[in-house]
């Protein structure tokens, strides 16, 4: 397996005016690590993956695999395999021929091709499909064939470009587990692109959140979830989304939200920051009889295991969302809200996270 290093990689599309997609992207993918590039459509995550694969030129910086610079090398010479969003299977060839295609181009002996294809097929449980053609397969089966084609070349690393996007929700969940198991079995270095933050959270050893400014944050899934670096990451990671609303951080280190005041302690100096953006995840917004925030329950969404409460808070233009597991009060009720201690996030005027006292201790405790 391989270590992939990106040093100050940039991508600019030529034209008048030239369009810079991102610049100064640096990332180290360790040997055997599963790194997920996640972000909304158009942020450049697929482009970055294709640059690693060699399917797109880089405009600046360098890409190294195991210390060797590869950004001038053809895709086949980089020793990587890629799984595409729409499978990219050859419809006129059988499943066997699809998987064997790269080996045939490499002039691998026939017996060796047979052995490796059958091994990959058994690993992915598609041995009984080898004589069929892609149009005769279901979406999940096609995706397995695409993964088989990637495995059989014994690459140094695997690249996945939104491989589950074309599958329905149930199949996506099953295939996610399959990919996780594959990573466990092979111990392979994997770089995975998705716009689905649930996939990112469940599969990754580390997440790279990409946004309008390029790379917004890199970290372990729970670290990114619990300590988002900025407003963009806070709003993107987490389902349901984090509640983000305007607040004021005063000189007494309190946070004014509408008519109420919430406690918060800044790390270091206690000077007031003025207008800030506050964030609370729905599961950390609690119904409390003596809570500081008054609210009116507008709407209840019952999801089965939990319910989402849409709450109007005086002084806030948008409704807040709280997630509760107990039976919700009736719509129209007046309720009081509190924030779980240590779960109020503040972001300064530039949208960057403001460090809170206790962040360091919590980080050491969780090991993230």
């Amino acid at each position: 397996m391989a270590q992939i290093t990106l040093n100050a990689v940039a991508k600019t599309y030529p034209g008048r005016p030239a369009r810079q997609l991102f610049r100064d992207v640096s990332l180290d993918v360790g040997d055997g690590e599963f790194v997920v590039l996640v972000g909304p459509s158009g942020c450049g995550k697929s482009t970055l993956l294709r640059m690693i694969a060699g399917l797109e030129d880089i405009s600046g910086g360098e890409i190294r695999i195991d210390g060797v610079r590869v950004d001038e090398l053809a895709p086949v010479k980089r020793g990587l395999s890629m799984v595409f969003q729409n499978y990219a299977l050859y419809g006129h060839m059988s499943v066997f021929e699809n998987i064997a295609f790269g080996l045939r181009l490499n002039r691998t002996p026939r017996a060796e091709i047979e052995r490796r294809v059958r091994e990959a097929a058994e690993l992915l449980q598609i041995g009984h499909l080898l004589e069929r053609r892609p149009p005769q397969l279901s979406g999940g089966q096609r995706q397995r064939v695409a993964i088989g084609r990637a495995i059989v070349r014994a690459p140094r690393a695997f690249l996945f470009d939104e491989p589950l996007s074309n599958l329905d929700a149930a199949l996506r969940a099953d295939m996610r587990v399959e990919i996780a198991r594959l990573h466990q079995r092979l111990g392979a270095t994997m770089v995975y692109v998705t716009h689905d933050q649930v996939e990112a959270m469940t599969l990754a050893d580390r997440i790279v959140v990409m946004g309008p400014n390029g790379v917004e944050q890199i970290g372990a899934p729970m670290r990114v979830y619990e300590r988002p670096a900025n407003v963009f990451v806070a709003g993107f990671i987490g389902s349901p989304k984090m509640n983000l609303f305007p607040a004021r951080h005063d000189q007494e280190d309190r946070v004014a939200v509408g008519e109420a005041t919430l406690p918060w302690r800044a790390a270091g100096s206690a000077a007031g920051s003025g207008a800030v953006t506050a964030g609370v995840r729905p599961e950390h917004l609690l119904l409390a009889a003596d809570g500081p925030l008054r609210a009116t329950l507008l709407l209840v969404e019952r999801l089965g295991a939990e319910s989402l409460l849409h709450l109007a808070v005086p002084g806030l233009a948008q409704a807040l969302v709280a997630s509760v597991k107990d039976a919700p009060p009736p719509e129209g009720s007046a309720v009081r809200l509190d924030v779980r201690p240590g779960r109020l996030h503040l972001f300064d005027a530039a949208g960057m996270r403001m460090a809170a006292a206790g962040d360091q201790a919590a980080q050491e405790k969780s090991g993230t």
Binding site: R50, A74, V76, N86, A88, Y90, L105
Partner: protein, 297 residues
């Protein structure tokens, strides 16, 4: 209730459309029916039936006499063989040449690509008659090898040859356009997956793109075949003598040898049959290609 109206109205509409389409089809088929029916009749019967619908039907005393006369009075088998060879080589060569150019235009990135594409599209509006004389002048000077007196010699001029009927028609702007439109719609991920496996442009073209291009290949085959089979002006300009003459100039020669309309219709029927056969064999893919690439384009 369905948006298109109650069931009875929908059925009436479908019936009306069916009748209209059948009427149009009959209109287009009329000349063919007349030709085939007349080929089995004497001239007297042809003229007798002209003013009635029996012109479209064989006479009760139909015979193959006209067909026998065609084979007696003309070198039709030779002409048909020549046309078959020219058409076959034009189809095979043309599909290769035009698809390769279309692949380069649709799937590869190179400087000048857009200019070349514009040039190809511009060629669509240039009729053959405009370039016939300059082309004649070119082929009169082109070298070709021949075996004479036990040795390979180089001769100049392509007159009275098969290659003069084939080579100028291999490159066909309309076929390039058809292939280009079709190739553009094939997902680029197929090329990229092949590149990851180590395939170069030729391998991608030959082993990935072309095997997935059945409909457009069938369409191009029909277009090239029709063009080659129906050639009249060019062979009349460059071929003298019956040895390499194709069928269309042949009918002109037959017209000079026979003043029987029944025999001329028989000649025309014979040379139409291969065209019908090719179209019937490829029509499903032809329609799919026109709908898939032509309409999107």
């Amino acid at each position: 209730m369905s948006r298109s109206g109650p069931p009875i109205r929908r059925r009436l509409r479908a019936l009306g459309m069916g009748m209209l389409m059948n009427a149009v089809a009959l209109l287009f088929a009329l000349p063919l029916l007349f030709m085939f029916a007349s080929s089995f009749k004497s001239d007297t019967a042809i003229f007798k039936d002209l003013s009635s619908w029996t012109a479209l039907l064989p006479a009760p005393d139909w015979s193959l006499a006209n067909y026998r006369a065609v084979f007696d009075k003309s070198e039709l088998p030779t002409f048909m063989l020549n046309s078959a060879i020219v058409a076959a080589l034009t189809v095979v060569g043309g599909i290769l040449v035009n698809s390769m150019l279309a692949f380069a235009l649709a799937r590869l990135r190179w400087k000048g690509r857009q200019a070349v594409l514009t040039l190809v599209l511009a060629m669509l509006v240039v009729p053959f008659e405009v370039i016939a004389i300059p082309l004649l002048s070119v082929v009169a000077r082109l070298p070709w090898t021949a075996y004479a007196h036990g040795a390979l010699v180089v001769r100049h001029g392509w007159f009275n040859s098969l290659q003069v009927q084939i080579v100028p028609f291999l490159a066909n702007a309309f076929c390039v356009f058809l292939f280009y439109q079709f190739f553009r719609d094939i997902p680029s991920e197929l090329d990229e997956a092949a590149k990851m496996d180590g395939a170069g442009p030729w391998t991608i073209y030959w082993r990935i793109i072309m095997p997935n291009s059945g409909p457009v290949i069938a369409t191009a085959a029909i277009v090239l075949f029709l063009g080659a089979w129906n050639q009249y002006l060019w062979p009349a300009m460059v071929i003298q003598g019956a040895a390499l003459r194709p069928v269309q100039p042949g009918i002109q020669q037959f017209f000079g040898r026979s003043n029987s309309w029944g025999q001329i219709m028989a000649y025309a029927s014979i040379i139409t049959l291969p065209v019908l056969a090719v179209f019937l064999a490829c029509q499903r893919r032809f329609v799919a290609s026109v709908m898939g690439s032509g309409i999107k384009g």
